[in-house]
């Protein structure tokens, strides 16, 4: 029986609908040019998710408003995660807030960029021996850039934004791909904090296939625990040991 909702696009890497075999070299060259143009445009218009944790948010009003005016760089706040490009973690992140941050992060459309702002996201800062705050942000989501300081001044934030724009322009800000490629690793770290029942409504494994970032570490022992939460809307996680990568990518 043929499923009616099948999208007529093959997920095989080197074919398209017309069944012409595409030269991988040709495809990657074209892709590079398109990505280069897209990255250049993208870096000129970045929206920050208007989500603030901790005390670092107090440095954002002067950064965004008329004195330092981040909109000169094309950066402005955006209220919804689905339209935002940058997730700015402004300060200490408690375990409870981390849950909400991960939910917001997974809702954001790729490409997305995470900036850890302030010392607390780097090594815990002044909350280094607190039981309730996490110490390293990059264990739970891939981070493009850290801004050190307690708190970083608006000048430092603008400097960081300029660096991020430069990285995006050069195609170096690819941390978001890490989340899809190493989803099992990040999910494992999240489960270590939130318990084995931790799951999000976002189907990250299906997204990884959509963005063509499905890799060996996308699924593993940690994603297998998601199986009991799978539904007809959410991908059934595939056990890694039985299928090879090519089969799983199908």
């Amino acid at each position: 029986m043929i499923a009616t909702n099948t999208i007529p696009v093959s997920s095989e890497p080197n074919t398209d609908i017309s069944c012409r075999t595409i030269d991988p070299q040709e495809r990657s060259m074209l892709r590079k040019v398109i990505d280069r143009i897209a990255d250049r445009c993208r870096s000129r218009s970045l929206f920050i998710l208007h989500y603030c944790t901790g005390c670092g948010a107090i440095e954002l009003p002067p950064t965004i408003t008329s004195r330092f005016d981040a909109e000169r760089l094309g950066i402005q706040p955006m209220v919804t995660p689905r339209q935002a490009d940058i997730l700015l973690i402004t300060g200490y992140l408690s375990v409870k807030t981390l849950k909400r941050v991960i939910l917001s992060y997974e809702q954001m459309q790729a490409p997305k960029y995470v900036i850890g702002m302030g010392s607390c996201t780097i090594n815990g800062g002044m909350y280094w021996h607190s039981y309730a705050t996490i110490k390293r942000l990059q264990e739970y989501m891939p981070v493009d850039m850290y801004m050190a300081g307690c708190m970083p001044r608006p000048e430092a934030i603008l400097e960081g934004f300029l660096q991020l724009i430069d990285n995006i322009d050069k195609g170096k800000a690819t941390a978001w791909q890490e989340y899809y490629r190493n989803y099992d690793h990040y999910l494992g770290n999240q489960q270590a904090l939130f318990g084995p029942d931790w799951h999000t409504p976002t189907d990250v494994i299906a997204e990884a296939r959509h963005y063509k970032q499905f890799a060996d570490n996308t699924i593993g022992e940690h994603t297998e625990l998601l199986a009991k939460f799978a539904s007809k809307y959410v991908t059934q996680p595939i056990p890694k040991k039985i299928l090879t990568r090519e089969e799983a990518a199908r």
């Binding site: 375990v95 090594n123 815990g124 607190s130 039981y131 110490k135």
Partner: protein, 177 residues
């Protein structure tokens, strides 16, 4: 000792046995009593002396003692006076009576103390976790709970790489002295 003590309070205190009080300021009164007499004191304070506001219940875990100290802070809008009633309850089993039936806001404070210190309040309507919903460890405000040990076994420390600083210094930045 009791020159400025309001008359209503005097009559209330006389009814509670083994009660010691101390004037700590013009508007502060520290009261120490036996733990089984506390509900009677609260009932009298509310009913007879007009102490309508239970502003907080605090809990102290004294590391040297085998007892928790519970402090009930009561405020009167009439005589404008704060009574802090101190009682001691044994750490094991760490149970006490809820005063929810006398002061409704007590339910919230007791829930908080149960979460942070593990004291169980009999008759409290809700002792579910409130702030620590993602918490599987022991009550974190206990002195026997070592925060640093917990952090060491739960989280990993950030790697320290001085090369970052060299990169920043090469660009003209660095640590301000």
């Amino acid at each position: 000792m009791s020159q400025q003590l309001p008359k209503v309070l005097e009559s209330v205190f006389r009814e509670i046995p083994n009660l010691v009080f101390e004037q700590q300021g013009p508007r502060r009164l520290r009261v120490k009593l036996r733990s089984d007499a506390l509900p009677a004191l609260l009932e009298l304070l509310k009913g007879r002396a007009g102490y309508l506001h239970l502003s907080a219940i605090s809990c102290v875990d004294w590391p040297t003692l085998d007892e928790f100290e519970l402090v009930y802070h009561l405020w009167s809008y009439e005589v404008k006076n704060l009574v802090s009633a101190h009682i001691y309850i044994p750490k094991t089993p760490g149970r006490y009576i809820s005063v929810y039936d006398i002061y409704t806001p007590a339910a919230f404070f007791e829930r908080d103390i149960h979460e942070m210190f593990g004291v169980y309040f009999e008759g409290c309507p809700d002792l579910e976790p409130f702030i620590l919903t993602e918490w599987y460890g022991p009550p974190p405000m206990l002195k026997s709970f070592s925060t640093l040990d917990y952090v060491k076994e739960t989280y990993k420390w950030q790697d320290y790489s001085p090369e970052w600083l060299k990169e920043i210094e090469a660009k003209g930045g660095g640590i301000v002295e």
